[in-house]
Assembly symmetry: C2
Homo-oligomer: 236 residues x 2
């Protein structure tokens, strides 16, 4: 996995990192600001992997430190608490999703095309560490104020999907449906992937996305046979 | 809500109980066996409601006792531990889902019709206390042996959905797709309902099921205009 280097802080969340991919411990000399950002990112990403694997309650900062080969006080130099880590992990995952929706919107096309692109980006993100953490752990274990902020971000994302569906119905590119419940249906189907996806498994995120989005866009019901109005009907 | 009465133990899980509906405290005289079954069911159902509302970690048996107007030792007379309660709640929810799939299969029809009926039953169950507990809490907090048993039940259910899809593709009633990933897509979309469904909200389970299953069966993409081969095409 290429890692950002040089004098500037590493962009969070950085390039696509397959969920569970080993985080290179960045405790080596380098530009101070960049090193700090890299190290903080490594702490957060390692914690996200741990939460996703073992659940939030069973995860400890000792184990985060162990995986990175540093001491617990070193970890505390970059983050305040386990709650603060979870908040940052979920926030980062949600920001990745927000960013993807913004990019899709900027790229133009019909609302249906935008929705398709947003769905593919969604799967790509929920199969990465921070996005997976949004789905597997989420904001539930956090104190009310933090929970509230993250829920607002989630509601905003849900609103974006709903809006795309509403626009698609209006312009005729999306089938007539209840935009709110259709958005929930998409969110459920796509989020579920973040729960069962196994980074070491045989299925890759792009293949999963194609199959899942195929069902969501074309539906499970077999299309009517193309010759139904012609000879085949007469043959019944 | 009608409650089973008389000399026989109450059938678990009993008639459809809207999630979060107050559980009548059954601490009154009556047939001994039936009373015991009713009381145990009340403990489990009240616990499931509490887990669904507050999360498993934040729930206590004191609060279960309080809600039922009994003492904590009385609750312990019916169940061994919080873990044992969660196990029973999730197992009951999964048994309801298994039972629904069996009934659907017995009712006959095309694989697509069976799948439709199973999906409607699924939504009906994940919007009730025990089914919602399967989705919101699940087996994750339990010790390995219990977790393993419940996971096997879940895998069996997933297999049933996959099998119906496979049969539907073979007989032509279901569109060509990857049965495993299509089953995951359904499971995700339908299970998600158990996470956001608000028993006191404006949307009823039947309406939610119709909208969600509509998207899953017909797809989001607008169908091609019926007159596309006739005048409308000529008008472009």
């Amino acid at each position: 996995m290429p890692e950002p280097r040089g004098g500037r802080p590493a962009p969070r969340p950085g390039p696509r990192a397959a969920a569970g991919a080993p985080v290179a411990s960045p405790w080596q000399p380098g530009g101070r600001e960049a090193q700090r950002a890299l190290k903080r990112d490594a702490v957060l990403r390692t914690a996200a992997q741990l939460f996703n694997e073992k659940g939030y309650a069973a995860s400890t900062l000792e184990e985060v430190a162990e995986r990175l080969g540093v001491s617990k006080p070193t970890v505390y130099y970059y983050v305040d608490s386990k709650d603060a880590i979870l908040y940052e992990c979920v926030k980062t995952g949600l920001e990745m999703l927000q960013q993807a929706v913004r990019e899709v919107d900027a790229a133009g096309g019909s609302a249906y095309q935008k929705l398709l692109a947003a769905m593919h980006a969604y799967v790509d993100i929920v199969t990465q560490d921070f996005g997976m953490c949004v789905i597997r752990v989420g904001e539930d274990p956090l104190p009310p104020a933090a929970r509230q902020k993250l829920r607002r971000m989630k509601a905003g994302l849900d609103h974006e999907f709903r809006e795309l569906i509403r626009q698609g119905i209006a312009e005729g590119s999306i089938a007539d449906c209840d935009p709110k419940l259709a958005a929930f249906t998409l969110a459920g189907a796509l989020s579920w992937i973040g729960r069962w996806y196994d980074p070491g498994g045989a299925l890759d995120p792009a293949g999963i996305a194609a199959a899942c989005i195929g069902v969501l866009t074309r539906g499970l019901a077999a299309p009517p046979a193309p010759a139904a109005t012609g000879r085949r009907r007469a043959a019944r």
